[in-house]
Every structure is written in C-alpha cells, then in structure tokens.
Amino acid sequence: MQLPLGIEVPIPTFEQFVFIQVALLTAVAGLAVVMSRNLFHSALALTLTFFGVAGVYVFLEAEFLAVSQVLVYVGAIAMLIAFAIMLTRSMMYGRTSPLNNQWGKSSLFAFLFFIGLLAFARATPWPAPGEEVIADEALIGALGREFVTTYVIAFEVLGLLLLLALVGAVMLARDR
C-alpha cells in the first residue's frame, strides 16, 4: 500500500490483523491497570490483560500455555487479588490517585526494564518462519517429560512450597 508521502506500508495479513487487535487490547488493558482511579477496576483490567496475553500465546501456537494462563492467572491469581482488594475496604471506596511521589523514579525503572526486555528479545534466536516447531500433543508430552526429568528438583520444590502454603493457610484459619 502506497501512502501519499511515498512511505511503503505493507498490507497486514489476516493473522497480523487479528494479532494487532489482541495486542492492542492487552496494551490498553495494561494501561488501564495503572491508570484506573478505582482499585477494583484495576483488578478487572488486570484480568483482561491476562486474557490478552493468553490470546498472544494462541498466536504463538502454544495452546497449552494459553489455557494454563487462563486457568492459573484468571482462575486463581486474579481472584486472589480481587479478594485482597475487597478485604481492604477503605481503599475501595475512596477514589485513590494512580500517582504518588515516587512516580518519576518508577517510570524511569519501568523504561529501563523495557529497554532490557527489548535487548533480550533482539538477542534471542527466534525460529525462522516456516521452520519446524514442536506443536500439539507432542509439545504437551515433551513438557511433561521435562518436568519429571530435567527440572524434577524445581518441580518437587514447587510442590513442597505449595504444600507448605496450604498447611499455613489451614493453620491460620483453624479454630483455636
């Protein structure tokens, strides 16, 4: 497509068109998390961001990761955050300002973090288009095999950590 000033703009393919929508949704929802004046709305926007990231995973043909993202982040983490916000009622009703006196420093660090991520993304050897990638059931099987072979210690430690958290929650909640 030729724009008036002689700038060449490639026409997006159908996948790219849908990807732009998903990416925009994720980015706008992410902005809403930090800009919203109501803490509960921030939590809802965070949930939407998690969905958007799941959509990006679908574009990367990692359906398992996308579904796990919805299961863990929307099902558990967003719920946890919503509960935590609801239990701090005073923050809910007052209109909180999204800015405090540290916004300058934190925006600087956010920018530096973004630069770091960008450098990391450029240094990663991504598979070229058309290259053979593991997909579908083979991917899930390979993932499971990695968990019980290469990463078995990390996997077990995570399981132990979750068990400890569960025991701790029961200890806090039981009748005395």
Binding site: H41, F64, S68, M79, A82, I140
Partner: protein, 413 residues
C-alpha cells in the same frame, strides 16, 4: 476411522469455488459459530421447559400447559415478560462490574460449546487441550459472580458472591482430578480422540460401547457430583438459598440481565452433562456410528439422547434432594471427593505401569475404582453413625446421659 472435520470439508469446498483461503476459513467459522451460539441460546428454552415439567411431575403437579402445545412456549412468554421489565441499577453500584457481569457469565458458558463433539467430525474446534479448556473457562463464571456480588453494592449479594467463589473453586479440584483420570487413560486431551477411543469393534463392526464410565465408575460419579456443584444445582444450590441470602449474587438484577444469569446457569448444566457424556459415556459412540452415510446422523442422535438423559437425571436430583449446609458442602469437597480422587489417580497410575495387557489393566482399574469407593463409603458410614450419636447426646440434658434407654423402658421412676 478417519473423520473429516466439518470445517475442513466446508472450507475446501468454498476454496474450490474460487474463494481465497483466509476468506473461506473466516466464513466457515463465522457461520459455524453463529449456528452454534444460536443453538445454545435457543436450546435453553427447551431446557427450562424440561426442568419445569420434570420437577412438576415429581411434585405431583402438571406444570406449564397453557402457552403452546404442552406449554412449550411458556418460556418464550416469560422471556418477553422479562424483556419488558424495568432495568434497575442500584444506588452507587459499580457500573462497569454491574453491567459486565451478566454478559461475562453467558460468554464463559457459550465459549464451552466450541469444543463439544456433537457427532463424528462435528466439533466447533477439535482443540488439543480441550479438557483443560473446559476447566479454564469455568474461572470466567467465577469472576462474573464475584463482579456481580461486588458491583451490586449490596451486602447480601457480596456474601453470596463469596459463597459462589468458595463453592466453585472447591469443586473445581475433584472435577479436574476426574478429568485427569480420563486423560491419563486415553493419553489425550483432545475431545475428538477421547471419544474415538471409546469405540468397541467386534468383527469389524463398531459397537461403540467401550465407554470409559464402565471402566472407571468412581471417576464418573465424582465428575457428576462435582458438575452438579459447578452448575449450582441441588443439593449444592445454596448459592440461591432464598431463606438465607434472599436470592444470591444476582439479587439486584432485574429484567433481561437477571434472565442472562439464568440462561448461563441452565446452559452450564447442559454443557457439563455434555462434557460428562464426552469423557465417560462415549460421546457420540453407539451401535452403528461407523456406517458410511447414516453414521454421523446416528452419532448426533446418540449424543443428544445421552446428554438430555443426564440433564433429566440432574433435574430428578433437583426435585428429590434437600439443600445441604455450607460447611457440609466444603467438607464433602475437601475431605471426601479430593482424597477419593487422589486415591484413584495413584492406583490408576500404578496399574497403567504394570507389564500386563491393556484389557487386564482395564479390569484392574475397574477393581481399584470399586475398592476405593467402598473404602470411602465405609468411612463415611462410620462417620455419620458417630455424628448421629454426638448430636443425640448434645440434645440430652447432661444429668441424664446414659439413662435415657432406662427411661424408655419405663423403669426409671
């Protein structure tokens, strides 16, 4: 048996007519999802009619019989009434959460229709992680209930919203574990493949009766019970306990928004029945589905008969069981269903690693299922007997403990 997906067949036909590839696929999926979503919405009319008729018969009533033949159009009349009602927004309600919640609850349920295999080759998408997808989408319904409870600015709605989260999160765990047993046995999370593995060939003829529910009745029963809880049906319908919480998290909703919560609830019950049929009762499998032309039609028929059968069973339970208390509900999920399922999974994982033929493994899994269920039933029976003794004792005056049997005989005075 190589089954062609409807979407592939249709899009290749469209491409043969000269349409570009992306347009053909887009058109096919747009039409497919339009039909699927409208089917889902309209089938709720039938589901509500079945519920009303079934519960009426159980309660010795006739049920709706004035609008349309056998009262079939009663729900249409009710929907028209709900449409004409005033749309109320409570004072100082959180507008975003309040208005988004009914939409989200229907959205979460309708999305589930996409992975249900209705007949050979007739699935919205044969997703390779369909079993996990079903579980993941349940969390949208939980989020919607929480948003409704918070957004209504009503403390009863908020309390009911907390109850919904507690119940749905608790019963999600036995549900996932029951699905896991099927995934462990079939080695696939693809619904199409799970259904195809449940065929039973005798002399080249597909009898279609190799249902996994026969091999593992324990997992089937746990799945059914937890799906009752997930669909908020009796005996787990304390989320709309009229005497305690007035109506539940949707107390402040009126008109069509209220109707949307009910639409989601009825459709969710039907879809969970469909998932139960897909995983445990053979999906569209049945005698003669392997036949060339009539096979897919027979498959669709078998699937519908099974799903509506399970749905009627759910309504039967709804008409006969009393509502349980919240502590009993949590107790049952965490102390009965979860240990039962973990026992079953450990037993099944060991059995599947034994160096025996598959048929022997199936028999062993069946024995393990029955054994674990028998142990749980024995423990429960013992617990309930002790519980009964305890409650009896707590009603007696302490000075009379141990002397009641004497007084019954009349020899005390």
């Amino acid at each position: 048996m190589q089954v062609t997906q409807w979407s592939e067949a249709l899009s290749s036909w469209l491409m043969g007519l000269g349409l570009p590839g992306w347009a053909a696929i887009f058109l096919v999926y747009a039409v497919g999802s339009f039909i699927l979503i409208n089917y889902g919405m309209l089938s709720v009319l039938l589901l509500i009619w079945i519920t009303r008729k079934a519960i009426s018969r159980i309660q010795d009533r006739i049920g709706p019989n004035r609008v349309g033949k056998y009262g079939l159009l009663q729900t249409v009349a009710d929907a028209a009434k709900l449409l004409s009602k005033e749309d109320i927004t409570p004072y100082e309600a959180d507008k975003i959460a309040y208005n988004l919640s009914p939409v989200l609850s229907v959205f979460g349920v309708l999305m589930l229709l996409a992975v249900i295999p209705f007949a050979p080759g007739l699935t919205g998408v044969d997703l390779n992680v369909a079993a996990l997808y079903v579980v993941a989408l349940g969390s949208i319904g939980i989020m919607a209930a929480l948003m409704a409870g918070w957004g209504s600015n009503n403390k009863y709605a908020l309390l009911a919203g907390f109850r919904v989260v507690a119940q749905l999160l608790s019963y999600e765990i036995p549900l996932v574990l029951a699905i896991l047993t099927v995934v462990l046995l079939t080695g696939s999370m693809r619904f199409g493949q799970i259904v195809e593995l449940q065929s039973l060939h005798i002399g080249g003829f597909n009898l279609g009766l190799g249902w996994l529910g026969i091999v593992m009745p324990g997992a089937l029963i746990v799945f059914f019970v937890s799906s009752l809880a997930e669909a908020e049906l009796t005996p787990f319908d304390l989320l709309e306990a009229e005497s305690e919480l007035i109506a539940g998290f949707h107390i402040e909703y009126s008109g069509m928004k209220f109707a949307m919560f009910f639409l989601a609830q009825f459709l969710n019950a039907w879809i969970l029945a469909a998932v139960a049929v897909t995983l445990f009762l053979g999906g569209w499998q049945g005698p003669g589905v392997g036949l060339p032309v009539i096979g897919p039609l027979l498959g669709l028929g078998y699937f519908m008969i099974k799903v509506y059968g399970i749905y009627v069973l759910q309504q039967w339970i709804r008409g006969t069981f009393p509502r349980i208390r919240i502590d009993q509900m949590m107790y049952f999920a965490w102390k009965v269903l979860v240990p039962l399922m973990i026992g079953l999974i450990v037993a099944q994982a060991i059995i599947q690693k034994l160096p025996t033929p598959v048929a022997v493994q199936y028999v062993l899994i069946f024995i393990a299922n029955v054994g674990v269920m028998a142990v749980v039933a024995y423990v429960l029976q013992k617990y309930f007997r002790e519980e009964q003794m305890r409650t009896k004792r707590s009603f007696e005056p302490s000075s009379l403990i141990g002397s009641m049997q004497v007084s019954e005989k009349g020899t005390m005075y």
